[in-house]
Amino acid sequence: MTVELAKHRELGLTDSEFELIVEKLGREPNDVELAMFSLLWSEHCAYKHSRKLLRRLPTEGERVVMGPGENAGAVDIGNGHAIAFKVESHNHPSAVEPFQGAATGVGGILRDVFAIGARPIAILDSLRFGELDSVRSRHLLDGAVRGIGHYGNSIGVPNVGGEIYFEAPYEHNCLVNAMCLGIAKQADMVRAAAAGVGNVVVLMGASTGRDGIGGASVLASAELGEGDEAKRPTVQIGDPFEESKVLECCLELLGKGLLVSLQDLGAAGLTSSAGEMASAGGVGIDLDVALVPLREADMEPFEIMVSESQERMLAVVAPDKVAAVLAVCEKWQTGSAEIGVVTDSGQIRILRNGDLVGEMPVEALVDGCPLYDLEPAEPQGWMYGNRATLREDATSEETLLALLASPSIASKRWAFEQYDSVVGSRTVRRPESADAAVLQIPEAGNAIAVSIDGNGRRVACDPYAGTIEAVLECAQNLACVGAEPLGLTNCLNFGNPEKPAPAWQLDQAVSGLAEACEQLGVPVVGGNVSLYNEGPEGPIYPTPVVGMVGELPDPARACGSAFLRETDAIALLGPFEPSLAGSELTKLRGELDVGLPRSDVTAVTAACATVRDAVRAGKLSSVHDVSDGGLACALAESAIGGGIGCQVDLQPLRERGCSPEEALFGEGSGGFLLSGDREALNALGATLIGEVGGSTIEVAAGDRSFTVGVGTAESAWLSLSSQAEHDGA
């Protein structure tokens, strides 16, 4: 008994979970069964600390085609087509080995999307690293960006947007969240549920090796710490060429109606894909591990069942269609093997050459894991460090340039130029040209917009209000290009949920997410939870990453964020009440503290509608939402983008009670910076604040007034490459 106890603990199960497994089986599990239970009962697969919270999220909507529980969510885009999308994390693998960790993160999210029969059409990514003056952060950034590019570029799916933040709490535990969107004919879409007793289970794609063994339980469901190098074998190795073939093969199989169901092999490999397919279909599955094509001949049954080798898919096929399926696999030169059969036993049975080596009720394995209530407690005060990097007596010009050069605000061109953003011929608005990416959808005669956001620092200041802001930021980005939200996906990146402070952050953030989605009327169609994101110095900033997809009728009218024409008027629209709380400037000054003003969701929603309608009517030259670094940075970004200056007076904000500093650098939801025809802006009820023209950014703000050349601002804003590729310590 003592030996068994050590083993289940090593695999991440608690003593009481082990006892529950014994009770459900009526005996002690053998090694194969224990390995499988440890994976499916891990946080990563069972969501045991988050599932109860997630029930708060609204998931229903008129346009929802597939909701949570499938490989990806999907919304109706018209003309019989759907847009599938999902975001997923690959944080711990990337912290251990950034290139392969990020690459396989992209590979995994692509498979989730084509598993439901959608052709991937776009990737976005949301990355978090420690401050760029650390060697580790530069190493992780470089590896992750190369890895994302390597996989996405090679497979021919454009990377159209994303965000990168640099904050000290991510130093040891970087975040790599990847989002994928796909398009499907609704008639060709397929669910993951196994069905049809006697149907054949076919494993397609790469052969199975020892890579990634225990990734979900050992790596994804525990804190990072000393000796993480020893975990490197738990990181998977990606092969985008194999994935490209598997992708085309699966889409051809689905297009020909040859599959009953399809599921990708991600975390926990065959164990989770077979278990979840059986559970969803209410059936049993028999698998013979001797039929699985292996890279190494001497693999044990438990290794075959838990391997996380990449680029593999599991399909259920009617017996009379197996030959046709294998022929399509042969055409695409991708592996395929009949490894099992659907049964009515309600059991997952693992065989080796016909001999039984493991047998578990599907219900116990997939749905039997206990769900835990959190024990949240609000931390007393600011629980993270904050080092000042900006002099207290910095002038407004110096402050603006410091903000523009701050890696979190600076242009991410260095990163996104390493990604193919144009393959597929859909990308109407590329990175940096507008607040949201815009992709044309000729299949439905319209277009979609997509944005991904989540400022962890602001969520750390107030998890509830900060998460609402993340949702509103996405909604505002979509409004800027004239899009109306259709659905939302999210990735909740948090610390150890068994500790009171991260538990409180998670609880508050999910409430904020639910509240914002309810009020905006945007359903949550899928998501992912990544917990135990901690390093030796404590938890990461609580980081809910929100990905939102919207629809617009005419992509030609999608507004850019750059000033277009001299003499255009500049105006501010929306319920913008800038505050220095949680702002980038407060961070640079080393003055971060808890607390954030609450956004007026109703008023922001109304402002989004006003902007959306104006954009669709073609009334505006540019639209940019006021975000990190406040109005001064938003003005600079629009000026740099257009290569034209501006003259602005912030008196109207002063009249709303803002100090000059709050007006310039304060942050908060609800602000839109517009340029265009003066009368058109007036008609929208926007507040005129200046005019486009010249080669300097001139801002009157009482005693903090300043003038900065557009070229000077641009040099600061484009400094990320030199900071990222700097070799010193």
Binding site: N153, S154, G156, F241, S244, E417, Q418, S425
Partner: protein, 226 residues
């Protein structure tokens, strides 16, 4: 006019190339890498992507495919062939075009909209102004990690003397360190053209530019009698 667009496992841009051929007013179909029969096809695109994963070396495996064998014969008989990005690499590997494409000077994959200068050798439509032909600039995206054009100096001199440099990066816009800013070259007969930037991604005003259509039109007109 009917284009054939090769499709290898690992190709990425074949559908975009197909659509671009159609936008240029021609018909087009995909040619699977195992096909040898090019009957009924008037011009060939060897598209971008990562054929066979670009294992070993970019384009090194694709050149041995049955379809490329057929393209070799097609080119020898004067048929127009356009190689884009990975397709350019394949044509160089196959010996249908001179030179080689090396890792970018930055050692990074780079995706960027840039200006190409259409050299007079390929520009059948150059406008006349005071008797001087004006070199047109085309706005076309480039995206590659191995696009630095290299050939020995004497080969480069010969290419220049014989008007076989088809496209150059506009001054200051060379994204990869290519010799003499060369973005694309032709074979001696003029019917085989390869370039690193992607004209198939510049055929729709919505996605940024339609200048790429000129590349398809120029190559379609480049066939020679055998």
């Amino acid at each position: 006019m009917r284009w054939g667009v090769l499709q290898f496992p690992g190709s990425c841009d074949e559908r975009d190339a197909l659509a671009a051929c159609e936008r240029s007013g021609a018909e087009a179909r995909l040619v699977w890498h195992e096909e040898r029969d090019l009957a009924g096809i008037d011009a060939i695109v060897v598209p971008g992507g990562f054929s066979y994963g670009d294992y070993l070396r970019a384009g090194a495996i694709a050149r041995f495919s049955p379809a490329m064998e057929a393209v070799g014969e097609f080119a020898a008989s004067g048929g127009p062939v356009l190689g884009i990005c990975n397709g350019f690499q394949v044509l160089c590997e196959a010996g249908l075009l001179p030179g080689a494409l090396l890792l970018n000077e930055s050692m990074r994959f780079t995706c960027r909209q840039l200006d190409l200068v259409e050299e007079s050798s390929i520009d059948a439509f150059a406008p006349e102004k005071g008797g001087q032909s004006i070199k047109r600039h085309l706005s076309i995206p480039a995206k590659h990690g191995e696009g630095r054009y290299y050939a020995p100096d004497d080969v480069l001199d010969t290419l220049e003397e014989n008007g076989r440099v088809a496209y150059r990066y506009a001054p200051g816009q060379n994204p990869n360190g290519s010799a003499r800013d060369i973005a694309g070259v032709r074979n001696e007969a003029g019917n085989v053209v390869g370039l690193m930037p992607h004209p198939e991604h510049a055929v729709d005003p919505l996605t940024g530019s339609t200048d790429g259509l000129r590349v398809f039109e120029a190559v379609a007109a480049a066939g020679v009698a055998a």
